[in-house]
Amino acid sequence: MKESHLKVDPVLQALRALAENDREREAPPEVEARLLGAFQLRHARRVRRIQRMRTWAASATLAAGIAIALLLWPNRTPKPAVNATPPVVEVSEAARPAAEAGPAPKVVRAPRTLARKAAAASPPQAHEVVTDFFPLMNPAPSFGRGQMLRVQLPAAAMRTVGLPVREEHLGDLVQADVLVGEEGMPRAIRFVRFDVK
């Protein structure tokens, strides 16, 4: 039996001959073409996915900003922020706090709860005055369709677009309209003031 076996060296030689014979064998060119097609498709999908993620992240940032603003100023009533004059309401003598004893002024600043009650009792006639839109993207891509969102923001946001706000009113909440493109990106903002008549 042993005599019938080839020794290892001839086996290696035979294997080398086979390896040499097949050295040039390769996958046909169609495989490369198919793979490149798949690569391009995959890359295009990846780019779209990244764009979607960026859009989502921008929207989430905007939403988070709004949510934080609302959380930080949860109990404040929206006030007209630009040159915001304190709300003035007539307060009856009985409702005036004891600390304000003395000659009654004609007009006093109402405590917040009283002001709210008074506002509920007789809602003032207010109409909106809006600023121009300020772009939030530079350069702004073309705008096809979108949505307008009414949000509340700290008045400090007005400074970011160059509107003047007094230092003492930076924390006041103001209302704003945010124009959001159909891809979810905030495109422009305008601020709203309520003029009480």
């Binding site: 019938s4 076996h5 080839l6 020794k7 290892v8 001839p10 086996v11 290696l12 035979a14 294997l15 080398r16 001959a17 086979l18 390896a19 014979n21 097949d22 064998r25 390769e26 996958a27 046909p28 495989v31 490369e32 198919r34 793979l35 490149l36 798949a38 690569f39 391009q40 995959r42 890359h43 990846r46 780019v47």
Partner: protein, 189 residues
Amino acid sequence: MASNGKRMTSDEELLEAALHGDEAAFTALYRRRQGPVFRFALHTSGDAAVSEDVTQEVFMALLENGGRFDPARGTLLSFLYGIARNLLLRRLAMKRPEDSDALPEDLAADDDVLDDLTRRETIEAVRSAVLSLPAPYREAVVLCDLENASYEDAAAALECPVGTVRSRLSRGRAMLGQKLAVKTARSIS
């Protein structure tokens, strides 16, 4: 990306660039490594069509899962061999057992050049003997003896220790010697 005009030497660099969308890098990597992968599949399966499919699937898998490649565990080529091996094992498992002894279809066409006849017969006999080896020995012989992979690369691809590769190789060669001797004896008689 750096592939434009600049020569990148390592497979790892090409893979990194390809995974970031560099088509030229992917093409370069494919052209560099498709031959060994195709031949590994061919020598293991004996079927050119299967080898073509496997080669394509290997590089598709590289695109999808290339991020999982860990250079600390072996070279990129061994990673590619490993993917090819898994694909081949899956295919071979589905194949009927009696098919394994069949001669590869791409061997059917023979030249009539008499000078080459003996050499061709020898080569086809070796090919046939390699294909008839049990899978673990066949893989070791194909990787180490036909594709000149290092023991470490073969071990990484076959997911076994280097010592196991050595022993499978040794046993595989011995079995080959036996098979070739039987064939030789038959042809002489």
